[in-house]
Chain length 193, copies 2
């Protein structure tokens, strides 16, 4: 299965793989269709047999990013044992994921008119956010949900853009159960014992 001549075998996956690889060391706007094709050992226009255009390829990469983010958050939540600590942990994991995968994270969120790749109601990350917010704030769930998302997303972006030092202590300080969502108006039905 080394070098089939004409037909590649699984070019689509190879292109996504190549894209993820490039995103480890380069920004999204430095990802060129031709480069990924080169990495896959294929002519530039072969890409069009699997993606209608470059935007679609990037959207596929973005979707992969969202999925990985969700996984990272779930693991963090579980390790923290759910409850308030779990909620904070998902937020911290969000920021750490961004710092560990800057280009992929940016691609996944920035410039939403990738249309497809972006986070939507049935992603793992989104579901966790909603559930936690509801269990904590009841009627005020929407506000808490948006505030929590905004803090994590904003901190991630500001750190990525170098406007705030990317310091783990800062992450814990900013995304903190006590100060960020202190027991909300007597509605806290905590999930941890």
């Amino acid at each position: 299965m080394t070098e089939r001549n004409y037909h590649h075998g699984d070019l689509r996956s190879a292109l996504i793989e190549a894209g993820l690889d490039t995103l480890k060391t380069a920004d999204a706007d430095a990802v060129s269709l031709r480069e990924l094709a080169r990495k896959a050992g294929v002519s530039a226009t072969a890409v069009y047999r699997h993606f209608p255009d470059k935007k679609a390829l990037l959207a596929a990469l973005a979707a992969e990013g969202i999925a990985r983010l969700g996984t990272a958050q779930r693991i963090a939540s579980e390790q923290a044992g759910g409850g308030g600590a779990g909620f904070a942990a998902t937020g911290q994991a969000y920021v750490r994921f961004a710092l560990d995968n800057p280009a992929l994270f940016r691609l996944a969120f920035t410039h939403g008119d990738h249309a497809e790749g972006s986070m939507s109601g049935d992603d793992e990350a989104w579901r966790m956010l909603r559930d936690y917010a509801e269990s904590f704030a009841g009627a005020d769930a929407q506000r808490l949900q948006l505030q929590a998302w905004a803090v994590a997303h904003g901190l991630a972006m500001l750190m990525l853009d170098g406007l705030i030092p990317a310091d783990d202590r800062l992450i814990k300080s900013v995304i903190d159960q006590q100060t960020l969502f202190p027991v909300q108006s007597g509605n806290n039905n905590d999930a941890s014992p």
Copy 2:
């Protein structure tokens, strides 16, 4: 002063003007050096007499964006009469500015290695943030400052990227004095009567 032939007169300003104009209707990555040169009625390479490269041109546009953001925030703060309401108003103004100038806002913050154009310690916006945070949280000023910035920035980005509806009611709900920075650990020396 209509059409000096060879020497343009003030090409640098004309290019920035052209850039700001383009950013009203197009994304930053759709701004081409050649297009701005065309708008200014000048050959593409003339740009290099005023900017070492495209990055520098974009940085100049970014700096203009930061300045305008600061102005918008100051006005909002004054109209709200300072104090807690003023603090919240600067945050809301931050988000509204982003929604009114999406491409310019993104350019100003995104991809910090524009190096120059970005917000730094002596910008009006930054100074206001620091002062408000100190007057509110005293010793905990840094945490409040980062939380406030992160919420505003995150909300702005998420709305720009279409992940949260760009609804003014939502802005007021999320960036809210009562819920976001409730009287902090007895340290609130409010500036309003």
